[in-house]
Amino acid sequence: MALKQLDHVRWLLDKDFKAGMRVTGLIYGDSYIIQNLEKEGALEQIANVACLPGILKHSYAMPDVHWGYGFPIGGVAAFSMDDGIISPGGVGYDISCGVRVMLTFLDQDEMKPHIDELTAAIFTKVPCGVGSKGAIKIGESDLLDVLANGALWAVKKGYGTKEDLECIEERGRLPHADASYVSKKALERGKPQLGTLGSGNHFLEIQVIDEIYDENAARRFGLNLGQVTVMIHCGSRGLGHQVCDDYIKVMLRAMNKYGISVPDRQLCCAPLKSEEAKQYLGAMQAAANYALANREIIGHLVREVFGDFFPKSDLKLLYDVSHNMAHIEKHEVEGKQIDVCVHRKGATRAFPPGHPSLPEKYRQVGQPVIIPGSMGTESYILVGTKRGMEECFASTCHGAGRVLSRKAAMKSEKADTILKRLEDRGIKVMAETMGTVREEIPEAYKDVSRVVDVVEKAGISRKVARLRPLAVIKG
């Protein structure tokens, strides 16, 4: 047993697990999660991250952790600005992949008679699937504006509201984005894909709030039992994938230049003070702005469809947060408030009550954290906590986390029986390809309730509400 149990949900991976570890690993999980973790390569990946220069405190793994590439999915690592690094592999290919939740003023009974038609209308309106092209056409100057201004661009063009911007992390725009560091190839891939959902685990869901755990936080967030919500999960599409690929090549060369060696090439990196890091940060933030604009546009398309069915409907954005990002943030390390670079790869930022970067309306209660479940299972709204801020750089889980490979999932059940099973539970599913439905069967994932119970027991975030799916759109 490589892990030392600290309490019922915390496990320590000691530095002697692997030569070169600079810090210990801190893993959040119950016995089931830890058993699954030990079966695959994620433990090795947590240790590999712990070997990176300038890492602070621990290499963290959230309870939805699983084997990724380079960093584990569910991995969090913060690096010193003085002697630390930034790694494109610590952010991932889908830069700023994230989730938003929009609140309707409808209850389940009002929605029920329209759910099939409304879902079909959204499926038609929001392009999804591999290589899907956007519902809006933009030229290169607009694309550069998107990369500079993110969701602010979308709002200026009428794809969203000013009120939305308050409820998107970083107010919908990462200020240090620099499109001059984004390659022509990335621009080419991004231009036709703005306003598209993509495929794989990306989805759009219509849900209903079926449980409230924290009345006070729910009231602050505007969540009511029986209320219909819309959840959108997508990212920066081909543009983000290309930025990551481009900068992995840059970092491979930078490692030679700066004399850095890493246990896995996907962890290639450059010192945060280097020119290469500056360029990657600029390009990564530009890709993140693309993702923020993408989700804002899709949200606008959803509003249009709801408007067709419910002319008086008004969907309010609860929050929009990424779970594949590196942010420069202020945190306390060894008693001092310092800037650090926090990589969250399949992990969600979760700022506590009082954090200055939160919108005024959430500042007293803390940041809404959105945790999507697997297809056909519940999702959760959590809230950030002081303990999470102090212990794990204001981070928490990002979803259920896979336990079954896609290959195994594909073999397990036919698409029509999966659809029937979900329909029997009152969940309508529309998908661009049936292969996605088979790969994304609920059993391919951990039980999301178990995952959020761990982060709540650990005190690094707290449950506010549970959302049950009514309809799912998959790419």
């Binding site: 990724g68 290589g131 081909g238 690929d245 996907q266 290639c268 896979r402 490979s405 896609r406």
Partner: protein, 134 residues
């Protein structure tokens, strides 16, 4: 088929074998496309293209090659089928002339070809193991 799919919790891997570097370029392209589209071999070409790649080493050369194919699909909506492959192992350069074919509807999406746990060996045969971000 000289390739097989490797299991991965969230994503997928491919292991491809060939008798030479040039053969591995061709077979790795076929493996990637087979993964994305299923049987694509009956497609008819509607254009020509050239891909040139320079790299630090063999692993980067082959990962870059497959990522180039994803870029071509994303931007041109085409499969690039290699006809003429030249690998310069001294200078780590790859040059491929090939046909462009209209891509069928994909059955599975690939975001990117990663370096995570990727490996290339040249003895006794050329073998390339790579994991895909889906």
């Amino acid at each position: 088929m000289p390739w097989k799919e490797l299991p991965h919790t969230a994503d997928a891997g491919l292991e491809i074998e060939a008798g030479s570097a040039e053969g591995l370029v061709l077979e790795s392209a076929k493996a990637l496309y087979y993964f994305m589209f299923g049987d694509f071999f009956a497609l008819k070409p509607d254009g020509e293209d050239v891909v040139r790649i320079e790299s630090l080493d063999l692993l980067e050369l082959f990962v870059s090659w497959l990522n180039e194919l994803l870029y071509t699909y994303d931007v041109k909506e085409r499969i690039f089928y290699p006809k003429d492959v030249s690998v310069d192992l001294q200078k780590m350069r790859l040059s491929v002339n090939g046909s462009l074919c209209i891509a069928p509807k994909p059955v599975r999406a690939i975001k990117a070809v990663t370096y995570g746990c990727a490996k290339i060996t040249t003895e006794p045969t050329w073998k390339f193991r790579v994991y895909l971000d889906l």
